[in-house]
Symmetry: C2
Subunit: 391 residues, 2 copies
């Protein structure tokens, strides 16, 4: 089984872009990824493409993969769209790893794209709603904020988590996003602003919720056989884990964690022969503040009871023991559904190749990405390592 | 690189089922697939699932994969939805092959599902339309029948194909479908009925067009390491090929063929070390009658000029040199978008394991499936062989 490496990764800005389309955003990410390859890559080297998108607003619901790859000139390569709600492009990267390890491709473009801000609030609720459980959640009026509010309430009740601790997630991620020129909400917020913002779904305030976002991300995954052509110090995808679960929160084992993410992380660590103690940083799926606290436990940084204290202690800041969401996370960087998972890999690539500028973690060697679909119906985790290859 | 085998395959009936849901149809296909495994398979052996669906009508647009796998009790396995319009589950099977060959899974469930008949005609046109080119096809009023009518006109003009020859496709496929208890339109039609039926989009009559369909199909793909546990005479996936192309017909190199399918077939033959001369049968994507004639040339059975004569000669009947669409094809068996590609593999499995009853080709050893997305924006081809494994 050949190893899989990331040799390039790029993204568009995340935000509201009325003059851009899903195709033009994807092009920006694709070109940025190609340009990031240390020793260069000709587009003709790409054997295959995998594209994650939900298709919010109903744009190009079929052949969404070829629709974006044709736009960047990759007409002939096999292009597959994958969808797992907000974990679409985390799964796209995983599929690229399978393609490479299968021997059926040497260079795979994995990415994602979403355009959300031109849809009305009702339309966005509809499109996100159909990623949740239909009969007992969406049709009974439950929004995603409502589902995560239930998870936050359970976390508070079971583990003593406070609204102040939830707010520390927002403060930290906005502080990081303020250093990221790609971030949608690239400004800092104070603890009191986060705590006292209008309530979206009790106990979650506006600052506990990620925005709706336009954006794209792209990653170039290559095989061991060809990696030295593109980089001497690539990023190795050391382990991948994935799992699904019941789509409806009410049908799962717990309201205060994401079992699929826990399972995916365990599988990724095992494959990588690594554990949480090896991590220098992690990009986790903080669609709502409580989701970051649940992720801390699901990826093994602490127990669920300790999660609130961990963020409040500063241990997950850029200069902390394990930096979490150096990009700003979904909260500040933004959450263009289909692009988010690949965008996390972009940040991991930038950290491990020391390109993260003001957000740079000191000398990192191992990072993790944690991407969740829906409220936990799907999850995918990658463990990535700095590597050296070459003659 | 490990080999990939099919050890089980099943499907629901194809048709109009107001009392079924996408979940219940998938369950039927899944249970049928499990029951077809010669030496049995426990559901717990399934490591991963890949589900193709377009989501016609807007049902479960996000997490559509986990939504069906949870319904059959596979809560924990990684489940990915893939979409390439009408080629969704052909690509799902291909992804299963990659998963197995990557060493990341030993047993993969690949399938597809679609529910179409509860949507209005306008809704179906919309949902199929968003699988075509948006600006210059759908928004200018072109339907899929209209696109394929342009292809049929080009085929007639360039290669001398006649409406009578197109009608022979319908006659043959209805004759086959009449022997398939799963078929939606399981009745015979005469040449005159096919020729004189109402025109849908000139030159295509009603009998030159496939129906809208509810249905599901499922295939169990396993690795070389475990195949002997499930069957002594499985079906080997000897070669897989895939390609994409411009989504819009007007942007492609020809109106009278499907370049992506030609490329996919060449790749599949090369991987299998086989050629068209080795085929005993093929399941091809006859969404419209002209599509079957284009497929003949794209998979190398004849030149484009010869395609009309080939079907009229009877050479592609069940008792002909190369039986094409023994299942009845999309025309008679039906075309539940997301299920179609996996459904073709079901027929190939039944033929190669001598389970096809009245449709059985005599002693087949090699077959091919040809699955096209949109009007040719994506295509995937599998070459399958009868195999022997075991102690």
């Amino acid at each position: 089984m050949t190893e899989a490496y990331v040799v390039g990764a790029g993204q568009s800005d995340y935000g509201r872009f009325p003059d851009e389309s899903y195709r033009s955003l994807f092009r920006t990410a694709y070109e940025d990824a190609l340009e990031s390859v240390p020793d260069g890559m000709a587009p003709g080297r790409i054997d295959e493409a995998v594209v994650g998108t939900l298709g919010v607003g109903g744009r190009q619901l079929g052949l969404a993969g070829p629709a974006v790859t044709e736009h960047v000139g990759l007409h002939g390569v096999p292009t597959t769209r994958v969808e797992n709600a907000c974990a679409a492009s985390g799964y796209a990267v995983r599929q690229a790893v399978q393609a490479v390890r299968s021997g059926m491709a040497d260079v795979v473009l994995a990415g994602g794209v979403e355009v959300m801000t031109d849809a009305s609030g009702d339309a966005v609720r509809y499109w996100l709603g159909v990623s949740g459980e239909t009969e007992w959640e969406r049709l009974s009026g439950t929004t995603f904020a409502g589902v995560y509010a239930q998870m936050a309430s359970a976390h508070m009740r079971e583990y003593g988590t406070t609204r102040e601790q939830l707010s520390h997630v927002a403060v930290k991620n906005h502080a990081n996003g303020a250093k990221n020129t790609h971030a949608q909400l690239g400004f800092e917020c104070s603890l009191s602003e986060a705590m006292e913002a209008p309530v979206v779904a009790d106990p979650l305030t506006l600052y506990h919720c990620c925005p709706t976002t336009d954006g794209a991300a792209a990653v170039l995954v290559v095989s061991e056989d060809v990696v030295a052509e593109f980089a001497d110090e690539p990023v190795r995808i050391a382990g991948v884990g994935a799992a699904s679960d019941r789509v409806g929160l009410f049908q799962r084992d717990t309201y205060a964690g994401v079992p699929a993410a826990r399972k995916a992380a365990a599988e990724a660590y095992k494959a990588a022969e690594r554990g949480p103690e090896d991590l220098d940083f992690a990009e986790v799926h903080d669609c709502f503040a409580v989701a970051e606290l649940m992720a801390y436990a699901d990826i093994g940084l602490c127990t669920p009871e300790e999660a609130g204290d961990l963020v409040a202690s500063g241990a997950t800041r850029i200069d902390g023991d394990v930096a979490v969401n150096t990009s700003g996370g979904l909260k500040s960087k933004g959450h263009p559904i289909g692009a988010t998972g690949a965008g996390q890999i972009v940040e991991a690539f930038e950290q491990l190749t020391e390109r993260a500028g003001e957000r740079q973690v000191t000398d990192p060697s191992v990072g993790l990405t944690h991407n969740v679909g829906g409220s936990g119906g799907a999850a995918v985790v990658h463990v990535l390592e700095r590597a050296e290859v070459g003659p």
